[in-house]
């Protein structure tokens, strides 16, 4: 029974990791770190997000998700728009 439970948990972890992805959003208007803290706060409040990084130099927001179902492009665009920015491109890496 323990072995079965262990196998199930491992299966869940592996499948979840397999579906995790990194999303890169190019953003216009990203010049001030003080103003951009809203991006970090907004995305970290999303259950599907495991990590978020903001790079002012590259004008890039990198979002690591926990699963594929997490964030579609429309949601990412809305969250970044609500934070005050304009999305110009979204790419995904598994």
């Amino acid at each position: 029974m323990r072995k079965l439970l262990f196998a199930l948990i491992m299966l869940m972890i592996i499948s979840n990791a397999a579906y995790a992805e990194t999303i890169k959003a190019k953003v216009n208007g990203l010049v001030c770190a003080f103003c951009a803290t809203g991006i970090e706060k907004t995305f970290k409040a999303q259950p599907a997000v495991s990590d978020v990084k903001v790079d002012l130099e590259k004008k890039l927001v990198t979002i690591d998700t926990k699963s594929l179902q997490g964030l579609d492009d429309a949601t990412i665009t809305k969250l970044l728009t609500d934070a005050g920015y304009t999305v110009t491109d979204i790419t995904r890496e598994k």
Binding site: V27, N28, G29, V31, C32, A33, F34, C35, A36, T37, G38, I39, K41, T42, A45, K53, V54, D55, L56, E57, K59, T81, D82, A83, G84, Y85, T86
Partner: protein, 208 residues
Amino acid sequence: MKKAIMAAALFAFAQTAEAKPISYVGGVMAMQENDETGHTLSLDYTFDPHYAVGLYAKEEENGKHYTTIGPQLNTLIQRWNLPDGQANIFNSTGAGVSRFHGENNAAAWTSMLADYETRRIFTSYEARFTYADHIENAFWQRARVGFAPYAANYDDVATWFMVQVDDHPTKNDTWVVTPLVRFFYKTTLVEAGYSSNHHLMANWVLQF
């Protein structure tokens, strides 16, 4: 006429204010300014990408000494998100009570703020009209220009050197120039300066 020309020059020279009155949806911003015009405290909650509601309070000094408090609405009228910069036009309008010599009087205020910034250059201009019944009706304008000695990234402490010019005809010192330094890191911003009429400036902004 001279004042009008100077005001026009000021507007053309730079657009301002301490911090944008709208943050991100769900964000709360607390701001305090202590300068030669008095002490200002505001608390704003952004409920829409274009709107924030808040509470504004100011103790006026360097002229008539009175206190104003009331709710205000901040509106993002226009934003330009550019590849290497951002420009904004905001309005803040509120109404409340001004207390002067122990008496409460109706008060209202509105201000227009325009700013443009890159990672190395900052300019802003703010014009404010204040009505305080039986106390004073004031027009006030402020311009600010600044530069960053290095382009700070998101996880760095940002440093800015700025010059602020105030024109407030109802104060004892009408034109005031304040060189200042600004630092911010993540959700905390602080500013310190010393004005041409010998007052210390100490401002801070916190985001939650």
